[in-house]
């Protein structure tokens, strides 16, 4: 937090490809700590490719991703996660796995970890579900438990892929509040969003991917559009147009 102004994730002239086909090029970016960036774009625009590159799972063709956040403080929450719903694990156990960075694989949890886990579940309003198996949760409850894991992890870089899909409105409210708190504590947060209403409530910055290029736009520029709210208006601006 002492170095708030110093950005901990930067993209320099990034060129990314999947299966030898260029997906994104000339991508510049500067993700500030404490800011929530919305990543928008049509299907196939390269959102998940970019996320893979940021997580270090995909090697860029050229350019670079400069990330000063330690690998174990980076959290990546895929879309409604490819979790096995029949997996015999309780909410508390899932949240506790987030304490990995502080003790590794071989040592056990101590009382402090459990206390922290209970606090986190209380913040997310899932204390009453602590011992419920994951398979019996609703989409919203499951999403809260997964966010609980990232809180436990004390994630400093958090990437979420459509966290509000399949989620009830109460959960949306809670998640937006929690994400804002995490950002205020200095985390860098990137969220893939489709819904303009969520974007207006959450995003400080917007990175729009379209036609192989990325464009930084102000959230206000998007939300003032009177286009139908659910869909990102791709017609606005050419691919080489300057920022709005």
């Amino acid at each position: 937090m002492s170095q708030r102004s110093l950005s901990r994730l930067q993209l320099h002239n990034l060129h990314l490809a999947q299966a030898r086909r260029t997906v994104l090029e000339h991508l510049e970016g500067d993700f500030k700590p404490g800011a929530i960036t919305a990543l928008i774009g049509a299907n196939g625009a390269g959102k998940s490719t970019l996320i893979q590159a940021i997580m270090g799972e995909l090697r860029p063709i050229s350019g670079e991703v400069v990330c000063t956040v330690a690998k174990e403080r980076r959290a990546w929450l895929p879309q409604q996660l490819a979790l096995d719903l029949t997996f015999p694990m309780s909410v508390e156990e899932l949240v506790m796995t987030g304490s990995w960075p502080s003790h590794g694989a071989l040592t056990g949890y101590c009382a402090g970890h459990y206390r922290k886990g209970r606090e986190i579940m209380a913040r997310l309003g899932i204390s009453h579900l602590a011992h419920r198996p994951l398979g019996e949760l609703s989409g919203g409850q499951r999403q809260r438990a997964l966010i609980g894991r990232t809180l436990m992890q004390e994630a400093e870089l958090l990437l979420l892929d459509e966290p509000f899909a399949n989620v009830d409105s109460e959960t949306v409210d809670i998640l937006i509040r929690i994400l804002r708190q995490m950002a205020d504590d200095g985390a860098t947060i990137i969220v893939v969003l489709h819904d303009m209403d969520h974007l207006r409530r959450l995003a400080d910055e917007v990175l729009m991917l379209n036609g192989g290029h990325g464009r930084w736009v102000a959230p206000s520029a998007l939300t003032h559009q009177h286009a139908p709210a659910q869909v990102v208006p791709f017609t606005m601006g050419g691919r080489h147009a300057g920022s709005a």
């Binding site: 980076r74 096995d84 796995t97 990995w100 694989a105 071989l106 198996p133 894991r149």
Partner: protein, 296 residues
Amino acid sequence: MLDLLNVWFVSPFDYGFMRRAVVGGLALSLAAPPLGVFLVLRGMSLIGDAMAHAILPGVALGFLLAGFSLPIMSIGGVLFGLMVALLAGAVSKMGGQREDAAMASFFIISLAAGVMLISLGGSSVDLTHVLFGSILAINSTALLLIAGISTLIVLILAVVFRALVVECLDPLFLRGQSRRSGWVHSVFLGLLVLNLTAGFQTLGTLMAVGLMMLPATSARFWSKRLEGLIGIAIVLAMVASTGGLLLSFHLDIPSGPSIILLAGFGYLFSALFGRYHSLAAKLRRKTTPLEVEQGA
């Protein structure tokens, strides 16, 4: 009554071979079912079968080199099993094929190679022995080996337990957390090979999988918790191995198949009458349609 109990359950153990057999069976029952539970949870239930075939050429080579020496055959089995696992992993990493496809190809090659090797150097009796085992022929060296390997498996499993759970649920998360997350998978495959090698003497390479998988698949009908699954699977395996042994003693039937068939009977019973997802559970749910959601 007491006499009957004595005749059925106590007097068989007057024989040394029965005592060794039951101890060997119990040791295996401690180590194998937890591995089976993880295999089921990872959606890799058939990999156990594949690995069982994969150790065969190694066992056969050991047999050709040193005759019927369990330690040598076991070492051969472990080496060959690990090699096949690594090869399958490498082929799938090269791209193109999923690991299970590569594994399926390698295991069938291994099976053919193993049978060929044993036939070249021995008789069909030897072949039957390696494929289907003979728990009643365990000597003290073999027993020590089985108990030692089982102990080692349980200890290593305890150490890597949490990493294994996290990897089962969300491999991406584990990869984010640890630079060496690949070791969890390798250690697990190694334990699998070790366990099958310990099991082949008693149950044979083909049936050793049974004591690993059947209790694990049965336990899914009784518990929704990991500890529960593992505990129930171990108890089921112990009952099956001891019960099967007694049945084989009294009815004069082969021991390996009777142990596995007893475990198989447990599976069918669980599928019909278990607490969760069984036929009975489905019928119960139909007759009591409206259950009030508690909590929330």
